[in-house]
Amino acid sequence: MNIYLFQALNGLGVGMVYFLLSVGLSIIFGLLGFVNFAHGALFLIGAYTAMFVTAQTGSFLLGLAASFAAVAVIGVVAERWLLRRTYRMPHESQILITVGLTFILTEGVVMIFGPESQQVPMPDMLAGVFMLGAYPVPVYRIFIFAVCAVVGLGLWFLFERTLFGARVRAGNESSEMLNLLGIRVSRVYAVTFALGTGLAGLAGGLAAPLRGADPSMGAEAIVIAFVVVVLGGIGSFSGPLVGGLIIGVTQSMMSAIWPEGARLAIFIVMAGILLVMPKGLFGRA
């Protein structure tokens, strides 16, 4: 198996993290029409939370769970007390308020943990390699893949097979209708926000052992999330999945071919796909 194939497999793992990061953004926008520019900062908080809790408790799994839970709580609280007021405002107001939130969250993290980037130790159990033929595949990548696959399946089940999911999909079409049907829209929003933001946090937790935790993670993440969502199509679920995988694979493969241009390649691919499919791969009009 040559290096490129190997990198492509690597990229699938990265792509799955991108999927987790972006699916929340896509769902939140699809349901609420709300542009959450703070999504990247939530990824950041997830990473730091995982790092902190793991260090305190010695359990990485606990750290991951905390990264999801903590960010979900922040998401719900922010939605309820702050962001809900901007639903009727134009998009630029939503962007402005979430940019403000991003500043506060990011600076808050730096205040607590300092501005330096921090190593996040890989849990021993997951630190080894698994030999696939002649190539060592890091166990951690497999772990990420497994976690994201489980989450992905869970999401699919949630949205396609449960009553809650049906409500979210209906709300995607018309939240007014939900209201008229007597469904507590605010509850649907809150749960969706918790889920969407929590997933970003979990993505951050998963990414932490790979790249460490540093304050610039948020800015990088929001861009990736936007690219994946645009590429995959807004409001869809398969969109962020396929989009994330494409971006992840592109990035990994390019880092073997032209490392300096790896980041650039992502955007070129995105531009190329959009030229042909303006609404993204799975976007709805």
């Binding site: 998009h91 962007i95 940019v99 500043f103 506060i104 861009v223 650039l264």
Partner: protein, 320 residues
């Protein structure tokens, strides 16, 4: 008073000139005053898109950076070019805007926003990937300033500031001309009711593209002036933070207010200058300010005035 300024070109230009004259006193030096004016130009160009064309663009930093690089490349290769270098920058900005616009403008709403953000990142990484042209991480250094002829009289710093001030007044007056033109009205129509505009015969794509190009050219001009101010074209001029900053200034001042853009630029620059000296985590305060503005002055600082004025003036169609 504000109403009079809005309706009279003469008074408007006077207000701009007054702002430019006051800045060195407010900011304490011509260097930082120059920064305010430069970003005011960029913010006003962003207002053209945001408040009139209805386009929320994260790509403004790309144009700003392109202008910086262009002026650096031209003046380092041909220091005698002088002011002509600025013209090259405007053209460069318009070309890049055309390219980005053609990809982005076929999208509507939030898709457009996200694509401009991705395009901005593309520009940033392109700049990083071609250090032979852009100087990579370090940017272009030692850019020679063109002579303004005033150096002998008022000194280099003030001479440079005079250049920036003149461009500031001209650029924003030009933008005002544009928004009060038939083109400006067409943009308004497209923003207000795109379906109706299209049905009435307006080529919506072309109109948005033209607005994008005008904005790109003027933003590039601002970037060029900034590079002259710094004597360098750093990578940061083309990064996402620059786009964000310009957008924030434009929104703070009020999406449709060109004068407001100047005040938005002033507010952000003041906060960056003053607060950063007091507290390393000063951006947290900026975050709080932004949230407060959205919740309590949603139409921007400048539009708090406009709101008061609107209640007493003629219907929208006849307004500036």
């Amino acid at each position: 008073m504000l109403e009079k300024i809005k309706h009279s070109s003469g008074l408007f230009c006077l207000a701009l000139a007054g702002f430019a004259l006051a800045m060195p006193l407010v900011m304490g030096s011509t260097a930082t005053a120059g920064v305010v004016l430069v970003f005011a130009i960029a913010a006003a160009a962003c207002n053209l898109l945001l408040g009139y064309a209805g386009l929320l663009s994260f790509a403004q930093g790309s144009f700003f950076g392109v202008g910086s690089y262009a002026v650096g490349m031209v003046l380092k290769a041909a220091p005698g070019a002088g002011m002509a270098a600025l013209l090259v920058c405007i053209v460069a900005g318009m070309i890049v805007a055309l390219a980005i616009g053609m990809l982005s403008i076929r999208q509507r709403g939030i898709y457009f926003v996200m694509i401009t953000l991705a395009m901005a990142q593309l520009a940033y990484f392109a700049a990083l990937s071609f250090p032979q042209l852009t100087g990579g991480e370090n940017g272009l250094l030692d850019i020679p300033r063109p002579a303004t002829g005033l150096e002998g009289i008022v000194g280099e710093g003030a001479g440079q500031y005079a250049l920036i001030a003149v461009v500031f007044v001209l650029a924003i007056a030009f933008l005002r001309l544009v928004v009060r033109s038939p083109f400006g009205r067409a943009l308004d129509a497209v923003r207000e009711n795109e379906v109706r505009a299209q049905t009435a015969g307006y080529d919506v794509q072309k109109l948005k593209l033209l607005a994008f190009c005008l904005s790109g050219g003027i933003t590039a001009l601002a970037g060029a002036l900034y590079a002259l101010q710094l004597r360098s074209a750093p990578l940061s001029n083309i990064d996402l933070m620059t786009s964000e900053t310009i957008l924030i200034m434009a929104i703070l001042g009020g999406r449709r207010s060109l004068l407001g853009a100047a005040f938005g630029a002033l507010a952000m620059t003041l906060m960056a200058e003053q607060l950063s000296q007091l507290w390393p985590r000063w951006q947290m305060i900026v975050g709080l300010v932004l949230i407060a503005v959205v919740l309590f002055a949603p139409r921007g600082l400048g539009s708090a005035w406009a709101h008061w004025r609107d209640r007493r003036s003629a219907p929208a169609g006849d307004r500036a």
